[in-house]
Subunit: 241 residues, 2 copies
Amino acid sequence: MIKVALIGRGNVSFHLTRVFRATEKIGVTVLNSREEMPIDKRKSIDICIVAVSDNAIKEVSKKLNGSDLIVAHTSGSVSINDLPNGCRRGVFYPLQTFSKEREVDFSNIPICVEAESNKDLELLSELAHCISKNVQQVSSAQRKSLHMAAVFANNFTNHLYEIASEICIENDLPFDLIKPLILETADKIKTLSPFEAQTGPARRRDLSTIKDHEELLKDSYRKEMYQQLTRSIQKTYGQKL
Amino acid sequence: MIKVALIGRGNVSFHLTRVFRATEKIGVTVLNSREEMPIDKRKSIDICIVAVSDNAIKEVSKKLNGSDLIVAHTSGSVSINDLPNGCRRGVFYPLQTFSKEREVDFSNIPICVEAESNKDLELLSELAHCISKNVQQVSSAQRKSLHMAAVFANNFTNHLYEIASEICIENDLPFDLIKPLILETADKIKTLSPFEAQTGPARRRDLSTIKDHEELLKDSYRKEMYQQLTRSIQKTYGQKL
């Protein structure tokens, strides 16, 4: 059994607590980020997962300095070197979007692990394999770029859904009309690359429709976004701008 | 049985042909856009679906002027008034992204119908109901905005996947790492509104991560897109810019 202490009260720790508790091979203790872990308790723990917000990682992990357990954070953008160097530093980054209202199936969530020794990497990987089929060794530099890719694929994509939803509402149309399209757009990437899957006026250089849309878009934010994304698609497909 | 003639050789007509042929209640004849439909043939058809590119709709449908069948196009952005006014004009717009390589399940695809008389609207709706559970009456003005919403939700979203994929490849990471995130991002909107589902540095105003990403982004297109989408998210959540 891998003995894990989990620190934090956010979305990631909420879901990690659930899945760790549901996994026989893992024993989990959940701690508040302000709690101090008693010395004798530390000795019975293999890995301490610091699942707190990026700017709290340093502060919280500092308290664990000098202990012999692995101290791993769960952030996409924080380097392993930001952990105190008097402990066995590690990263345990589940690449997914977490909301408390949504259950997630960890078995398909990529867990990106990083450590400073093979022994620690093995233990972190073993922990990751207990909950997921998809475990990857990813360096701090790679993880930073991966997190940025995730911002495009998730945060920005969701914001485009939000704009689509606003446009529907403004035109007395249910957002439900767009949902099958959103689901198919995502599902397509299982069998086609995004490059192959691209359709629409920008891809086929349908200037008349593009012009119509620009006229329809009264909000300057939306209009600039429309124009910029259109130009970027045209550039991707080697069209003259 | 509803007797349908289908004109066109693109993605939409490819998939409509398949689903019409697989539906018992529909009899379908497929025509090339250059073919003239003989007068006696016209008499045996109820609806002619003109599934050609937007800029060919006028030209192709002109040939059907004067006939007593319903002439319906399948475009998101073309007005019903662009069809010749000597025929029973209609619209039969399936709101989905179509690629020849991907099979689609029409039963969940919203079909937006429009006509100039109740009788024609009923027949177009009946045809739509033969292949889909989701049939909506949508005016030309609404459809234009709906199509634009679809450009945000599909075309632009897919382009963000493309950028995420490029970032992965540039950092020796498999794009597969991002796919579960993309699927969950789309799946979330079944239970959460995009407004509720939003996460990430822009939403939580994590300026340090935003700055890091801006430094990582060397390509000016990507960087501007990142900044613009970030600003738009911040505006949506009432943050000072």
